[in-house]
């Protein structure tokens, strides 16, 4: 059981790390500001989400786990709203 959970953690955290890498590559390589914003949101949502998901078996149940999920939801909320606000600014400056 523990071994299975450990494999789950390793897989999920590795996948999350991959999305962070992908987000950075996108932020550095994509041609314009709006596409770069798109890359950023992937790291925000999926990357952190997978890392949190992978860490869930390691923390104390239920409060430790709830705290982790709360952290993820907070980043989700503010990340998506900030992305919209930045997009509004980029659109305005392009027009």
């Amino acid at each position: 059981m523990t071994a299975a959970l450990n494999i789950f953690t390793v897989l999920a955290v590795s996948a999350g790390t991959f999305f962070f890498l992908a987000g950075t590559v996108g932020l550095l390589r994509f041609p314009n500001t709006l596409t770069r914003l798109h890359a950023l949101t992937k790291a925000d949502n999926v990357g952190l989400g997978l890392v949190v998901f992978g860490l869930l078996p390691l923390v104390e149940w239920p409060f430790g786990a709830l705290k982790l999920i709360a952290v993820w939801l907070l980043v989700q909320l503010s990340g998506s709203i900030i992305a919209q606000l930045i997009a509004i600014i980029v659109r305005r400056e392009e027009s």
Partner: protein, 312 residues
Amino acid sequence: MAAFIFNVVLVALLLAVATWVITSRAAFSAVVAFVAYGLLLAIVWVELSAIDIALTEAAIGGGVTGMLLLGAASRLRETEATAVSTSVPLRLTAAVLCALITAGLAAIVLFPPNTVFTLAPDAMAHLLESGLGNPVAGVLFVYRAFDTLLEKAVLVLALVGVWSLAPDRFWGGIPGLQVYQQPNSVLTLLSQILPPVGIVVGIYMFWTGANNPGGAFQGGTVLAAMWLLVMISGLQRVPSTNRRALRLLVIVGPAIFLAIGLVGFALAGGFLAYPAGYAKPLIIVAEAALTLSIGVTLGLLAAGPPERMRQR
């Protein structure tokens, strides 16, 4: 081994970002780098097992200072071009001087005195009497309570200083906080959802601070940030600085702390001494009031001096 590689990467990044803060041409770029620097520094404090400081740095360096500096950078943008850069000889002299100071300090780190000074056992002895579980909170409110009282006084004085920079005709007016110009935007949504969560986290920080890392300052900073968010999004108007309730909120924390300190003369034989058995409840009361005051004071410090009067 993995931990050491992590630390090397962390330090390399910290120094790279710090160099960019100093050498960047554009002020905006330097300020964004400074925000990133604050985030990295919070991780450094975690690695030095100083979680209390990491919390403070995350709240201040990553959040409120960044906001203050970004606002200033965008207001001062047009003045950047006129700045005259310093001459090469002066730069070289300064570089040599700074390298010498760095070398001197590094020597102290590399060749420390053989006797290790520590006040930890002393602080722990006082901690047991107070009933607190967090040693840093114990130092702040028992062992060096006078320092903490003075620090709160400094915050109030800084606020008075910032307010007094207003032109005479705006004394007691509305701080010049930059408000987001488009009402009913998605920012409104953020400032409707985030503050309730933030207030819970702020109270949690203050409450857990008695036994775990956290405390009045960290909690107060979260409250300040949430208040600023509500004001920036236009959900709540920026209050006039001559409002009596506002000024009362600024001083209630330091005043209660001072009162508890004075009561110590009568009941415990010294300033800021707590009567036996009552230390923890008294500290909690003082911290609760301080959390509120710190929140309001930091919010007002970030909002800046008054720049207009309330329209009637």
